[in-house]
């Protein structure tokens, strides 16, 4: 089997993740239930005309992908694969509002054109003049992992050597108000603000774009190797451990072989129990990492999780702010990521040091 390496990463998020090494400037937000983005200087990456035309998600996608390409020193790809849960929701809402507010009259096509879910992947391809394979996945919190899985298949099939993948989601005020109404986003920050010990339902929300350059060849910039990815639509809490064990087994590994587990804790008291069971039992004696207190939850927040895992692998260190427990490891060789949202769309991602 050919190998799949992460050779470059780029991330735009609620933390400063684009001109720092890791999360050395990370700050916990104690006032907002929707974490604002740290906005990059777009004009360093995109022409002024395009900046005005493009929605936030597209711009962030272009910045994050540019950063990943710069790190890996690659601009030609055999595939560009993206994932997005909500797609270009801002342009979609703009067009829908115009339809509803003006009774289907006086419409212009711009926001409709930009509202298509594959806009980010298409715009990147257009910019690079990349005519190769171009897919976009939209399946809740496995949107990004679907892209990752597809990329790994492409390399396994010998159909690609270099692939750009990313997870992008954006949020706007109206969607936030609907998500609050439906109880998806917490009404207010709990006091004390401790995501791991939340007592309320709903999550802290945000948005972001995270890209990775994957390649079948290792180079100086390589972060880690992607060993395997698995997605499942629905699992009972009690089924997760068994699924993880068989996932690891199919990769010739046991739970003891895992040096750290990256968990998708998001502060929803009901569904965080999926993670808690693992934290307290199977993986209680290994370092555990969480990250959504910094990134917020969104359908492709797990791409931020893989960004965190990549950085830990490269630095061989877990920053204090990410630690669920106080267990230490001298070396991080194999790490497992587990994510789900609302009890559905479960993903396991296995990476190793190289």
């Amino acid at each position: 089997m050919r190998k799949t390496y992460i050779n470059g990463v780029g991330c735009v998020s609620a933390q400063n993740t684009f001109d720092t090494f890791f999360l050395e400037n990370a700050e916990l937000n104690h006032s907002k239930t929707v974490l604002p983005l740290i906005i990059p200087v777009y004009k360093d990456f995109i022409s002024p005309v395009a900046i005005r035309r493009m929605a936030k998600g597209v711009k962030n996608g272009i910045v994050a992908s540019s950063l990943a390409m710069k790190e890996s020193n690659t601009t030609t790809f055999d595939a560009i694969i993206t994932g997005t849960g909500m797609g270009c929701i801002d342009d979609s809402d703009k067009f829908l509002k115009a339809i509803l507010d003006n009774n289907e009259e006086f419409l212009t096509p711009t926001s409709f054109i930009q509202s298509t879910h594959n806009t980010v992947g298409a715009q990147i391809a257009l910019g690079l003049q990349c005519k190769s394979y171009n897919f976009t996945y939209v399946n809740g919190s496995v949107s990004f992992e679907s892209a990752l899985l597809d990329a790994k298949l492409k390399i396994d099939e010998n159909q690609a050597s270099s692939i750009l993948i990313g997870g992008i989601d954006e949020i706007n005020d109206y969607t936030v108000s609907l998500f609050k109404l439906a109880g998806f986003i917490k009404e207010e920050i709990e006091s004390p603000n401790d995501l791991l010990n939340s007592t309320t339902t709903g999550v802290i929300y945000s948005e972001g774009a995270t890209f990775f350059v994957l390649d079948d060849k290792k180079q100086d910039s390589t972060y880690a190797e992607i060993l395997d990815v698995e997605i499942n639509n629905y699992l009972e809490i009690e089924e997760v451990e068994e699924k993880i064990v068989s996932f690891l087994k199919s990769n010739g590994l046991k739970c003891d072989d895992i040096d750290a587990i990256i968990l998708g804790y998001n502060g929803d008291v009901e569904t965080d129990s999926y993670y808690k069971l693992l934290s307290k039992n199977t993986f209680k004696s290994i370092p555990q990492v969480y990250y959504k207190h910094l990134s917020g939850e969104y359908y492709t927040a797990s791409a931020f999780g893989l960004w965190v895992a990549s950085k830990i692998m490269k630095s061989q260190e877990i920053p204090e702010i990410l630690k669920v427990n106080s267990i230490e490891r001298k070396e991080f060789k194999t790490m497992l990521l587990y994510n789900q949202y609302k009890g559905i769309d479960h993903s396991f991602t296995l990476i190793s040091r190289c």
Binding site: I80, G85, M86, G87, S92, F95, L96, K97, I99, L100, N103, E104, L107, P109, F112, I113, S115, T116, H117, N118, T119, G121, A122, Q123, A125, L126, L128, Q129, C130, K131, S132, Y133, N134, F135, T136, Y137, V138, N139, G140, V142, S143, S146, D150, D156, E157, S177, L178, F179, L181, A182, F184, E230, I231, N232, N233, Y234, L235, Y299, I344, D345
Partner: protein, 400 residues
């Protein structure tokens, strides 16, 4: 040639029928279903015609025996309807007996409910249950739940090529042994959102769509869902299953030209077809019928025609037709319903007509097949292209 992945079941609901059989009968009898829109209130109802499924949401929900307090979008209901048929057609009674996945496709997901309740959400508590229905994944989850499927479920959204890409991914997952069985296809319901979107792009016809005609004026939108069951040869052999046809080739490429328009020479389409031939290990002269994308917009048919001429040569084109005059352009579902039609063409050795064609396009010497034609069909090529330069080609072959 590459043996391809076995198709063992199909299900469909479109404007021309609620079953595979009904769709086939309509195709044989030139029974189109482009009509005046009834289920959506739009100011454009006098000037546009659509391929609408003449069932209300209530009728669909009753047919599916959904509980009264369900929160299914029309997109999800159409998808469940077609997917259940496909499972039944494949003779599957225990869905999780083998490692089974679902790869769905949709363009705007639950937009039909979002646009209906967008402002009501804030003051009508009963509508709040629909807030979670907007994203594409909700549709796939509802289909999986209704099928009782537990496993790999995902959704592709690359505009009008989405379902072709779902079929492609499914075939790859079977080829690689990642899944034993996979339900693949797409679903899209008509929505004010897409009607107005295409209207502002000025690519909606005010009459009946005329693919590959010099005087074509644009497309008719439609709604549909179709799903196919793909199974590994191991299952096929073990259970002695009937194979309807095989997915033997597939290719995806990006035109990298414009967000919504195709390049003049159809580079993306050319590359997608070229890749599909490589995967299938077939030559263009082995294709017996092409189900073209043929939306009847000035841009698509010119670009697709140029790409076809580059691959096949104007003088050597096999019979080709667009079936969109029957169904309308059903966006993310289009490639799935056309996959069903491609399989029907193979099973029945018949080329379906390209209706409404009168005058050859002046740019090239290509005339679609305009009447029903019986001939032996071993291989069908089906094209689907979408916004964002997304170009996909599938090749279906007779099971030998």
């Amino acid at each position: 040639m590459n043996k391809g992945v076995a198709i063992t079941g199909m299900g469909i609901i479109s404007a021309i029928g609620n079953t595979v059989e009904e769709n086939y009968i309509s195709l044989l009898n030139n029974k189109t279903a482009i009509s005046i829109i009834e289920n959506i209130l739009t100011i454009h109802s006098d000037v546009i015609k659509v391929g609408e499924i003449k069932k209300t949401n209530k009728e669909l929900s009753d047919l599916l025996q959904l509980p009264d307090d369900n929160n299914f979008s029309r997109t999800a209901m159409l998808g469940v309807f077609a997917a259940k048929q496909a499972i039944h057609n494949a003779g599957i009674t225990s869905i999780n007996e083998y490692k089974t996945g679902l790869i769905s496709a949709t363009s705007v997901g639950g937009m039909d409910v979002t646009e209906r309740y967008y402002y009501d959400y804030l003051n009508n508590e009963e509508t709040v249950k629909y807030i979670s229905c907007h994203d594409g994944g909700d549709v796939a989850h509802k289909i999986a739940n209704e099928l009782g499927l537990k496993g790999m479920v995902t959704t592709i959204s690359t505009a009008c090529s989405s379902a072709a890409n779902a079929i492609m991914l499914g075939a790859r997952l079977i080829n690689l042994g990642k899944l034993d069985r996979v339900v693949v296809g797409g679903t899209d319901a008509l929505a004010k959102f897409t009607i107005n979107g295409f209207k502002t792009l000025m690519i909606l016809s005010d009459g009946y769509n005329m693919p590959f005609d010099n005087d074509r004026k644009g497309l008719n939108l439609g709604e549909a869902a179709a799903f196919l069951v793909l199974e590994s040869d191991e299952i096929v052999n073990r259970e002695n299953k009937k194979v309807l046809a095989r997915v033997s080739g597939f290719g995806n490429a990006n035109d990298a030209f414009h967000q919504t328009a195709s390049s003049e020479n159809g580079d993306g389409a050319f590359l997608a077809m070229q890749k599909a031939f490589q995967v299938a290990n077939l030559k263009p002269e082995q294709i017996d019928y092409i189900n073209v994308h043929g939306t009847a917009t000035p841009n698509n048919d010119l670009s697709e025609g140029r790409a076809l001429a580059r691959i096949f040569g104007e003088e050597n084109m096999p019979e080709f037709s667009s079936t969109k005059p029957f169904t309308g352009h059903t966006l993310a579902a289009a490639a799935a319903i056309e996959a069903v039609y491609s399989v029907l063409a193979i099973q029945n050795n018949v080329v379906f007509p390209n209706l409404n064609f009168k005058t050859k396009m002046e740019e090239f010497n290509l005339s679609p097949q305009t009447t029903l034609k019986n001939k032996n069909i071993d291989h069908v090529l089906s094209n689907s292209f979408g916004f964002g330069g997304n170009c996909s080609t599938l090749i279906f072959s007779k099971n030998k």
